[in-house]
């Protein structure tokens, strides 16, 4: 029916409503596995930077992990940090150049495992940076080992019978932990599992960049993401896994919003 409609109608002028960020994102294909959430967040960050027109004033800090090559894709000033120390490096950058927009981009193995101390102390000091935390519950780059954020009972290559909570402890909820600290200004948990979640994440990232101007404290955005290769699933199955198993433990929403 719609095909018939299409034929009857005269040619309609179509205008471009969405395209890949041209300025802030380099025109090269991502190295991530098919369906990985990392590249969605890369694209969104650069979209926000482009829309706010702060490409020249933005400095990013890349982590160690799957996203170690973030600087290959983001056309902003980038600095590579030692494993887990991205927030410490960002602190230095922000203190020397207080007018720049500084963000760190870290995964859960980087931010919640080896860099726990740096993360907590950075937020406690209330550094005016944006920390983006990609939580996929696994060490993706090294082959899917158990991370502090792995779900109870989740099978990984170092927990072949599922995560045993009595032995290795419960999953570390970094975002809730950080929201308690006085230096945190805006703390939120978002997701990339469907188009609406992506829209909300973009809004959260835009707000976080704008809050940096106020110099009130750290903005922290956790993104519940997927790891199809590490979870040994197809991308579509991994999306269902997020909805079914990740969300009960990591509920999406704002955890700390500025009082105004």
């Amino acid at each position: 029916m719609s095909e018939k409609l299409y034929l009857e109608e005269p040619e309609v002028e179509l205008e471009e409503v969405y395209c890949r960020p041209t300025e802030a994102l380099y025109d090269i294909p991502f190295h991530y596995c098919p369906g990985c959430g990392h590249s969605v967040v890369h694209r969104l960050l650069m979209e926000v930077v482009e829309e706010l027109g702060i490409q020249e004033e933005t400095i990013g800090v890349a982590p160690v992990g799957c996203s170690v090559f973030a600087y290959h894709y983001m056309n902003v000033d980038m600095q590579e940090a030692a494993h887990g120390r991205a927030s410490a490096v960002a602190t230095g950058i922000k203190r020397v150049l207080p007018d720049k927009y500084v963000f760190t981009y870290q995964g859960d193995g980087d931010l919640a495992a080896i860099g726990t101390a740096e993360t907590i102390h950075t937020v406690n000091r209330g550094e005016n940076i944006l920390m983006v935390f990609i939580n996929n519950g696994i060490y993706g780059m090294t082959g899917g080992q158990m991370a502090p954020t792995t779900l109870p009972g989740q099978v990984t290559s170092t927990s072949p019978y599922g995560r045993d909570v009595s032995m290795v402890g419960a999953p570390l909820k970094m975002t809730e932990l950080i929201a308690n600290l006085p230096g945190a200004y805006y703390v939120t948990r978002q997701s990339v599992h469907n188009p609406n979640a992506v829209r909300k994440l973009k809004k959260a990232l835009t707000k976080s960049f704008q809050y940096q101007k106020l110099k009130k404290g750290t903005c922290f955005v956790e993104v519940v993401s997927n790891c199809p290769s590490g979870w040994k699933m197809t991308p579509v199955e991994s999306i269902k896994y997020i909805e079914e198993y990740m969300f009960p433990l990591y509920p999406v929403g704002d955890i700390k919003v500025p009082k105004e």
């Binding site: 205008e15 471009e16 098919p34 990985c36 590249s39 469907n194």
Partner: protein, 81 residues
């Protein structure tokens, strides 16, 4: 119905099918052909696209460009013609 169109860059598509499940019109499907990297890429199979940008938002490769018919045409506010 609002008319739209998508342009999918077959060279960088990795065939993850996330856009296929995000499309409310079920207009996308995997091609039977492969690209240079050996992935089956996604293509538009029905001409029912409304330009809602859902596919482009979830595309991890940022491979999708979305076109939609211009706004004044779809609303009846402008009744000059």
């Amino acid at each position: 119905m609002i008319k739209g169109n998508v342009n999918i860059d077959a060279k960088i598509c990795k065939g993850c099918e996330l856009c296929i499940i995000a499309c409310p019109q079920d207009a996308l499907a995997l091609s039977s052909h492969f690209n240079d990297k050996g992935y089956r890429y996604v293509e538009l199979i029905y001409n029912v696209c409304t330009g809602c940008t859902n596919c482009a938002l979830v595309c991890p490769e940022a491979a999708i460009t979305v076109y939609r018919q211009a706004k004044p045409a779809k609303k009846e506010k402008v009744s000059t013609e």
